[in-house]
Symmetry: C2
Subunit: 707 residues, 2 copies
């Protein structure tokens, strides 16, 4: 742990960013509407207790504070400097800050790395100088940071005009200032405060990953919300997620640039790297971070995470004043992978004893009749929760949560129940007033006002409650030796077979006649493939014939194949034929690996044929994976039922063999990450008793990768 000291230093520099004792603003303005005027106005409004030092060579006084012409003229130590100057003045200002002993810098200025190569070079220079000086730098092109806990406002966010931040347990780290502050404001609209806010802009130094790691150690923060466009340093991002996990702090992340369209827009609008959504999704899933897909999803997840009470499973109990809403929720349950198990008979009878017209299964429809004595809702909720064994409970109160008189009776009754079941998340869905919402929230309820989102919250709570599977390992025997040059299928089969992947018996022959003889020897129908180091997709050039039977037919097929391949791929070498027995039945999968430019080797599982090609029903995880993760990958496929169940009389496949193959491919990918760029077994035929790789492809890295 030789690097502990610098890390501690970095952490303390980030403390200077979010809890500074003094703040200087370079380019401070007397106009509170101007970008250089906003932070001073905000600091004054917030009652910041430390020094505020406006720096402006043209004024002695800025917003009533004594200004200095240069930072060095301040003659006092400065923790945090904000640079709000034209782009061309930024480099000199950074040098001034370093010279003055500043510990952290926020640069608002735009027009640098997001514009052109010269801007990128300048960013790299100032970042290097800051690093050498032990100074942390946020930006440039950053909306900056603020914290209601420390009254720090090194930002020009317009969101703060409309909404003043209340203290809370959620920290926000966002590459985009607009998205971050929108998220902040959506939380504020729900009456939910934050601990810290930081928007990193061009990320010349401080990244969202740095902030995730920092917030993991922050006692005031219990949930971390992150927004990322491009991730440049994959391992740092993964390490940050693991740090947060180890600290018991849920991370909810929105990573944009998932679609091709989205990726294109990223590339054209920031200097960040994009297109790594597959890798980012994979590492988030592996690290137990929640990947949000929209702003409302992100904010819902943050709100759910902030309760600190997560679901142990996916069994949901619903108590509703509206049968219709109960049915609607039941309709939506499948989307979230939730089940609504029925109440035990005894509990159903007890519910009916209280409200005879109630439907007591689940959803428990207490009907609008309970309105005449609202405490009966609490009685029924008690029966349902005590008897149902639910992982999450949803209570739909329709309009009743706008009736304060009724709530005065109901909230204390439900709160007592809540205290008896502190480990079961409890969602109240109702049209409410802010006051009623806050009262419910103070008692540990999660409150919302839309049935679909209530069901979504139950799904989120189950996601948040799921511990990530254990990490995989890389055993020494997963290292393989690749021959130099490209590999044909035969070589790939040999390498993977030697590494423990199961292939059916096969024959490698030179001539069409030998192919016929080999087929006769095997008996039954065979698959016939061309052998060539130059052809990756054999079927595209007529290099695969399936289900050919009999020596003569196989010989003819081989001869025709050689001609067709020669015609379609005239430059490809032909090294003979591969003859394998025709296996049928089972489920065709694709198991492969790719090397993500940011996150390294990923292992992939997909379902074969059209499911991969058209529906892209595939799942990635960072390699290596544990058997538990491989199981999780199987379950994450849309068509996982094919692998998990016996479909239409066909016996279920051998899941252990499939899991072992996924694990092994992931180990080979990880152990040979410097040699193997891509690997693919397509198809892997999963059978009731075992499974076989029926094809093999290994693509080495174009050049050796530096260790």
């Amino acid at each position: 742990m030789a690097d502990l000291a610098p890390r501690e230093q970095e952490r303390s520099a980030l403390d200077a960013l979010l809890a500074p004792r003094s703040i200087a603003v370079l380019g401070a303005s007397s106009d509170t509407a101007k970008i250089g005027g906003v932070p001073i106005a905000l600091l004054k409004k917030a009652g910041f207790r430390g020094d505020i030092i406006p720096v402006n060579p043209k004024s002695d006084t800025i917003q009533g504070l004594a200004a200095v012409p240069t930072l060095s003229a301040a003659g006092r130590p400065v923790d945090l400097a904000v640079i709000s100057l034209p782009a061309k003045l930024v480099e000199g200002a950074v040098d001034d800050c370093i010279a003055a002993g500043v510990r952290a810098i926020v640069i608002f200025s735009a027009g640098l790395g997001e514009i052109d190569e010269a801007g990128k070079a300048l960013e790299a220079r100032i970042a290097a100088r800051c690093r050498a000086a032990g100074v942390r730098l946020v930006g440039p092109n950053a909306l900056g940071v603020f914290s209601p806990l420390t009254a720090t406002f090194a930002t020009f966010s317009t969101a703060l005009h409309a909404t003043w931040p209340e203290p809370g347990v959620i920290a926000i780290a966002s590459q985009s200032g607009a998205v971050g502050s929108y998220c902040y404001a959506m939380l504020a609209d729900r009456g939910i405060g934050i601990s810290h806010f930081a928007a990193t802009g061009n990320e010349a130094d401080v990244t969202v990953a740095d902030l995730i790691a920092h917030f993991s150690h922050d006692p005031a923060t219990s949930v971390i919300v992150a927004y990322v466009e491009g991730i440049k340093d994959g391992p740092a991002f993964v390490a940050a997620l693991k740090t947060a996990r180890a600290a018991g702090k849920p991370v909810v992340v929105m990573k944009v640039g998932r679609s091709d369209l989205g990726a294109e827009a990223v590339a054209s609008h920031t200097g960040a790297l994009a297109g790594a959504a597959r890798g980012a999704d994979a590492v988030m899933a592996a690290a137990g971070a929640y990947a949000a897909t929209s702003m409302d999803d992100l904010v819902d997840a943050a709100e759910a995470a902030a309760t600190g009470v997560f679901a142990r499973g996916r069994r949901v109990g619903v108590i509703t004043l509206s049968g219709g809403v109960g049915v609607l929720m039941a309709d939506l349950a499948a989307n979230e992978g939730l089940t609504f198990p029925p109440l035990p008979d005894k509990a159903q009878a007890a519910v009916k004893a209280i409200v005879p017209f109630a439907s007591g299964r689940n959803p428990v429809d207490v009907t609008a009749q309970v309105i005449t004595d609202i405490t009966r809702v609490a009685d029924i909720a008690e029966i349902a929760i005590d008897g149902g064994g639910f992982d999450t409970v949803i209570l739909f109160l329709a309009h009743m949560a706008r009736n304060l008189g009724v709530m005065d009776q109901l909230i204390p009754a439900l709160a007592a129940l809540r205290r008896r079941h502190p480990d079961v998340p409890f969602i109240v869905c109702a049209r409410h007033t802010p006051e009623v919402r806050d009262r419910f929230r103070a008692e540990g309820f999660l409150v919302n006002d839309e049935p679909r989102r209530a069901v979504r919250l139950a799904g989120l709570l189950a996601e948040l409650g799921r511990a990530p599977a254990p990490a995989g390992e890389v055993p020494a025997d997963a290292v393989v030796r690749l021959p130099s040059g490209s590999l044909d299928e035969v070589a790939a089969r040999q390498i993977l077979a030697a590494a423990g992947i199961a292939f059916p018996p096969s024959a490698t022959v030179r001539t069409a006649q030998e192919a016929g003889a080999a087929a006769a020897h095997m008996g039954g129908a065979v698959a016939l493939k061309i052998i060539s180091p130059d052809i990756a997709h054999k079927s595209d050039v007529g290099g695969v014939r399936l289900d050919v039977a009999g020596a003569e037919a196989v010989e003819t097929a081989a001869r025709e194949m050689a001609e067709e391949v020669a015609r379609k791929a005239p430059d490809a070498r032909q090294d003979g034929f591969l003859v394998t027995p025709m296996l049928t039945g089972g489920v065709e999968c694709v198991i492969g690996s790719v090397t993500d430019p940011v996150f390294g080797p990923l292992v992939m599982l997909g379902l074969g044929g059209v499911l991969v090609e058209v529906l892209r029903d595939v799942v990635f995880r960072p390699a290596p994976v544990s058997p538990e993760t491989a199981e999780e990958m199987i379950g994450a496929l849309k068509a996982s039922a094919l692998l998990l169940e016996s479909v239409r009389g066909r016996p279920a496949i051998d899941r252990d063999a499939l899991v072992a193959t996924i694990v092994r491919v992931s180990q080979i990918a990880a152990a040979n990450r410097d040699a193997i760029a891509e690997m693919e077994i397509n198809p892997y035929l999963a059978l009731p008793g075992g499974g076989y790789a029926l094809d093999a492809l290994i693509v080495p890295h174009a050049r050796p990768v530096e260790p």
Copy 2:
């Protein structure tokens, strides 16, 4: 049109319901919090201009109004009577109403048809009596009706305590009072008024379908929102949707009970028929109604529909103050089937001339820099809209719509642009104030505050703008003759082939030896199937062998098959074997028909194999369908790319042949609706040059259906 007069009478009775000149309340209470007290309190509050007649034998005065002991004692004509009495008094009260010449009745009382058979019988009795008297009846177990246009309040909705209705163009018809009033309140929270509200409860007489038809003729209503749990009369529902369509009034429907779980909950909580989600979805799609899946979706669709300006296509232009939100929207576009085509180069250059840092493609990121002169946003929007040829435009303004000074500049500039493009829907997404929202809305903008929902709205506008395909026809030659008794595959093939469905050549043989000879005669590999009138799913009992080649192999296979089938289905008759040439390549589909108990014959298209079995990738439409509808069905499949595109070098399939087969199956299903319960071609092999039915199943109705 002999029934025109009664229909007119019905319509006028519904006018008495929603625009009565006088209202009596049976069971009127002096307590304004009691169900019988609420409508009188609401009518007084609303300033209802007609007579309010409390009926209560125990009081002379109710809430300051003179009460009568019985309805007949009123001595005045009464348009609408509200019955708020215990269940056991309802029947007598209805008789009193009829005797007094009431034209419409709303029954609040619960404890009737939703409870037991006796309640159902009572409901049927009173409904019949009302019908005979030309009186329309809402309920029982109904939350009732209200209308801000006519100050009519025949309801006990608690939603009205918190939110008073403003007049608007949206009419709400809901089986569930809670869902309907929740929808009403969600609209009201957005500042959107309604024309009428009606919750129908047990629907002894007036149904949601009746109300859809009624609102179609209401000049004050331009959008109809409907919530249905079970639909008892399919043709009436379809007719109502068509009436609304013909009147140019969009209908947005939430039909719950889609999931098995949901259907179970419906069955246990109302007396309505359920489980018809497939049929309901099919008829809604065919009639151009929008099927919402959640409350927010329903309300979003209603709000979008109320603008009256729909998208002509799916090309969306986005102008955004936040690049990140632009990327997020691009990520979400695919979910909605939207595209974000790039701006033409000239328009991109013009955008950059205004804001040099802008990214001008699409999303057009105007960056936060534009904040210094907001009218530049309008200039850029003008360039984008004039140059982009978009079907819908989204403008993301982040927090700026809370800044009234900025909006005073921007709204007039955008409004002028809006007036020049009145046919292009324009969505403003921003955190806003109610005032800013209303100002934008008054200029024809659709306003919301969450990026995912803004993209969803663009999708909704495209859905709402799509005209339904023309209806199908039933030609006389689609009528087939079924033999008596059950049909085996050979008979089904003959019937369908005679009706114009293409099958490959086949041989029907008695013995295994004949099967071998037939295969030899065909040449190549064959498929071999058992013939039996008693076996619907042959592969489940070993009755199918594919890809067998050679006379000897086929004979052996046939012999083994006969033994296996005899073992697995010992009671099934065996009538020999069907031998067909083995066709490969192409795409396997399933084309079939079912008879929906509510909506009649439906035609189904699915993708074969695992896609049908595991992913349930199927689409239904009411039979018969037009070729245009069949095309639409193909496009509606999740894996439609398989049928629409050339996948991995395989040429695209013959879509005309597939369309013709879907149309023909739908015609046969419709023409023989009284004879055929189900039909299935599984697989239909869609090939590049044509397509073939490879199997056929016809299931006659168990008993002849009365004409």
